[in-house]
């Protein structure tokens, strides 16, 4: 318990609090609000705040428009091609948003495929990818599955007798949806929306890749990296980001706890089959969504095999050189990623299982605090955690390391594992909750001590839950950009995300960057596939708070 609290304090609480303290004090001695006053006085920051809120809201809105009809169809109807739709719905999750941003530039950008065609045919071009619109487009395509999955779970959890009772009393059709179904699924939908909002405002990669800087996350990043660690404004921006995320997270939790009520005894059965013209329409929508959500994947795959691709519809020359580059000439990006993310995932599994055990099976004091601190990373954007680490661990030798933590690759492992800890805590908690205490007690009654009980009874029963949580930590760490680009000590210590970012800076390196992107997509796909194998139909619940 003490060790655990020390770890969480050192790597979560302390860095975040020191960011808070710098933004609230003058030179680290007296508390003051003057920095926040300055923040709100500067038009640049006011605009960044407004843009962040506005684009976050738009992403949620558009995602909802995409996700809601799909969720209803998925949860309530049986039809041919349903599996295809389910797969299509998870495709956007396997491509990191900043990779998707690059790919969409190639297809929808100013000199991308679509605009080249439009110019040819109609002499017009549509600025899909310019400015805030581009950010919103990329994020919508990437994040809509979060709302979709949350809503499907909500819908599937509604006890079917709740709707049957309404029918029995004379209610049906759209009235039934409005009076019973909608209110019951609303909490899950709202929670999914708030999560999408958190991820959208936390996303640093997309705006950086699209070169749109007037949002809070890129502002914080640019302040710290260009002006320096002593620029107070950067810290203030960080704190504003945390406040926004935290507010959204608390609201999401509240709604999710409300959502629990609807899930009673029997899950709702699929209520109908689709055929005829309805099925045709559904198929059309599926095809459209599949096409759009596959665009980034196709673009990045093409780019990874191309030697030259600019101002043409498709690449002009193809090559395998990009893969040769990243797999043989500079293989360290891939190797580093595997080392860091697997270590981080393993660490998360151990910490997550321990925390879950403490929360569920013991009466140690400070449980609520432990729970709160372990959940906190969900509301701490990567930029903010990185800034905190740079502030706290820079310039002094970390015990047992002989050098500052920030000059070692270990800082990335720590950052990843802290960022993703909530996932394994949740997964372990859920798994352990399923194991009734009496199962353990009966083992002890038959002579197994605590450790033996844990190894022989508890661990086998929660094992798959732990692995699933670890897989999600692994998947998300693979594509973590924000904290990566701030914390990588030297180029040769960088993981894939860093490599992509680096390569994408120059037109000549884009092919190799895309090849790294493809590797990232494959890693994430593998992780997602395994998660689905383990979680089965409940995979959607892995993406809830």
């Amino acid at each position: 318990m003490a060790v655990l609290l020390a770890i969480l304090t050192a790597f979560i609480l302390y860095p975040v609090l020191s960011v808070l303290w710098i933004s609230l004090s003058d030179d680290g001695s007296n508390p003051t609000l003057v920095h926040f006053a300055n923040f709100f006085r500067r038009p640049l920051f006011r605009e960044a705040l407004w843009n962040t809120l506005w684009s976050g809201a738009l992403v949620v809105l558009f995602s909802a428009v995409l996700a809601l009809p799909l969720a209803y169809v998925l949860a309530r109807y049986e039809f041919r091609g349903k599996l295809l739709l389910q797969t299509a719905a998870t495709l956007p999750l396997v491509i990191p948003p900043f990779v998707g941003a690059v790919a969409l530039q190639l297809i929808l950008g100013r000199s991308g495929m679509v605009n080249l065609l439009l110019m040819d045919w109609f002499e017009i071009s549509i600025p899909f990818m310019e400015g805030l619109a581009g950010v919103v487009l990329v994020q919508t395509l990437h994040f809509f599955p979060f709302i979709l999955l949350n809503t499907v779970v909500s819908l599937a959890n509604i006890d079917s007798s709740l709707e049957e009772a309404a029918k029995n009393l004379g209610c049906h059709g759209f009235r039934l949806f409005r009076r019973v179904t909608l209110p019951l699924m609303l909490p899950g939908f709202i929670a999914g929306s708030l999560l999408t909002f958190i991820r959208a405002i936390d996303d640093l990669g997309t705006p950086l890749m699209l070169n749109y800087k007037n949002l809070l996350a890129p502002q914080a990043y640019l302040r710290i990296t260009t002006i320096g660690m002593d620029d107070v404004d950067g810290y203030v921006v960080c704190v504003v980001l945390v406040v926004l995320s935290l507010a959204a997270l608390l609201a999401a939790r509240k709604y999710l706890s409300l959502a629990e009520y609807a899930s009673l005894q029997r899950a709702a059965p699929v209520t109908g089959t689709l055929h005829g013209s309805t099925l045709a329409i559904v198929w059309l929508v599926i095809a459209l969504i599949l096409a759009v959500s596959l665009l980034p994947h196709i673009g990045i795959a093409l780019l990874s095999f191309s030697k030259i691709w600019s101002f043409t519809l498709l690449p002009t020359t193809y090559t395998l050189g990009n893969y040769e580059e990243i797999l043989f000439r500079v293989p360290h990006f891939v190797i580093n990623t595997l080392v860091y993310t697997l270590l981080a995932a393993a660490l998360d599994i151990v910490l997550g299982a321990t925390i879950a055990f403490l929360l569920l099976r013991t009466r140690v004091p400070g449980k609520n605090l432990l729970d709160a601190v372990a959940t906190l990373p969900l509301a701490i954007p990567g930029v903010v955690l990185a800034v905190g680490y740079l502030r706290v661990f820079h310039g002094w030798d970390f015990p047992g390391l002989g050098a500052p933590l920030t000059s070692s690759w270990l800082i990335l492992v720590v950052a990843y594992s802290m960022r993703r800890l909530p996932y394994t805590v949740r997964a372990s908690y859920a798994a352990l909750q399923q194991v009734h205490v009496s199962l353990e007690e009966s083992a002890q009654n038959l002579g197994a001590n605590r450790l033996r009980t844990f190894i022989r009874i508890t661990l086998p029963m929660i094992g798959s839950g732990l692995v699933a949580g670890g897989l999600i930590a692994f998947i998300t760490s693979c594509v973590e950009l924000a904290s990566t680009i701030m914390l990588v000590p030297r180029i040769e210590l960088g993981p894939i995300a860093y490599g992509i970012y680096l390569y994408m800076q120059s037109p000549l390196g884009r092919g190799a960057g895309a090849a790294l992107g493809v590797v990232a997509i494959l890693l994430v796909s593998l992780g997602t596939y395994l998660t689905h194998r383990i979680f089965g139909a409940r995979a959607g619940s892995a993406f809830r708070v």
Binding site: S161, K167, L169, G170
Partner: protein, 367 residues
């Protein structure tokens, strides 16, 4: 509105290849308290859901007051149903839950207020209007579910194991209340349960259902006293099944010999159609019909069966004995009398029973 007569004609329901309800004919008269009784998975709930309109029969007709309603959707049937899980909407208050069906029927606001208040009073839940279902106890939720259904004045009331989620004491209390309410309203009620005690206590008619078929239909006493076969005999209360053989068939009665030598003359049973000398039959004897005889008193082998006490359980008002006899384990329930010594494990005894307490069951069915 109230009429409420239901006829099921050759009803069948199939899931895949499996017929879960097979060729059921039932006539439920108005005002009746009709119970579908059977073990879980016997098809009784499916039958109920076909009446409510949630399941469409694959064969046969459902008639409500003479009209075929197979194609009528649930929301136009005016058949109230109380769900096993109560199915109270968590996002609505108690008042809104009860008012739901009235709003669907476009009842005027003032009348809704009046009727909801009356319905809540009827189930003794005055003053809970503003609460959420989650703030109520299980028993109270049950009452809200009942009020919600009764307030629309349905033609028929369907109850799907409504008491199964309550604790034992509350269950017996609610049982009596339901009974009074139903008899007062004269509302045709169909009750689904696997609890034979509930069925016997509440029903005017019982249909015992097993593996998708109605095995026996009748008044509670008929079902208990003259079970149609060994399944009914074993499912309704406890029953000892004794193998026997038909000795002689007379004009008004038959003479049977129970294995072990005991002879009985029985009235010709209604439930057994054809009987011939030499047929193997089963006798169903309730534990309370068995009379233990002191073996020291000499008696004829033809009037008793010998056995050994295998176990005895003193229950206050009576003693339950397990008797090893005829290679079987039989149950006897004997009223305990003050001062009278009890038999103990290992005691050699003999027992007999009166012909009037015996039900003759034809060839043994597989169970």
């Amino acid at each position: 509105m109230q009429a409420g007569e239901i006829e099921l004609e050759k009803i069948g329901k199939r899931y895949g290849e499996q017929w879960v309800v097979r060729n059921i004919d039932l006539h439920i008269q108005r005002g009746e308290f009709f119970t579908f009784l059977g073990p879980s998975g016997c098809g009784k709930t499916t039958l109920l859901r076909m009446i409510a309109g949630f399941v469409e029969p694959d064969a046969g007709l459902v008639r409500l007051d003479g009209q075929v309603v197979n194609q009528v959707p649930p929301w136009r049937r005016d058949i109230g149903m109380v769900f096993q899980s109560y199915a109270l909407w968590p996002h609505l208050t108690v008042f809104e839950n009860v008012a739901f069906g009235l709003r669907e029927r476009k009842v005027a606001r003032a009348e809704i207020n009046q009727r909801v208040t009356d319905a809540l009073k009827q189930v003794e839940l005055q003053g809970t209007d503003a609460r959420r279902p989650s703030q109520l106890s299980g028993g109270q939720q049950q009452r809200v579910a009942l009020a919600r259904t009764l307030v629309i004045q349905p033609r028929v009331l369907l109850l799907d194991e409504p008491l199964s989620n309550l604790d034992a004491r509350l269950r017996i209390e609610m049982r009596l209340e339901l009974l009074k309410l139903q008899r007062d309203l004269g509302l045709t009620t169909i009750y689904v349960t696997h609890d034979q005690e509930e069925a016997l206590a509440m029903s005017t008619q019982i249909a015992v259902i097993d593996r998708g078929r109605v095995i026996q239909q009748g008044k509670p006493r008929e079902i208990y006293e003259t079970p149609a076969d060994d399944f009914v005999a074993a499912f309704i209360g406890q029953s000892n099944l004794l193998p026997a053989r038909i000795d002689r068939v007379l004009s008004e009665s038959v003479v049977v010999t129970v294995e072990g030598g005991m002879e009985l003359t029985l009235g010709l049973p209604m439930t057994v159609k054809t009987i011939a000398t030499g047929d193997a039959v089963m006798l169903s004897v309730r534990p309370e019909a068995i009379e233990l005889i002191d073996t020291s008193v000499q008696s004829d082998r033809k009037s008793r069966i010998e056995g050994t006490i295998a176990a005895s359980a003193y229950q206050g008002a009576f003693v339950e004995y397990e008797i090893a006899a005829l290679g079987k384990s039989l149950k006897a329930r004997v009223a305990s009398q003050r001062g009278k010594p009890l038999f103990e494990r290992g005691d050699e005894i003999a027992f007999s029973f009166a012909a009037a307490d015996v039900t003759l069951i034809a060839a043994q069915q597989k169970s």
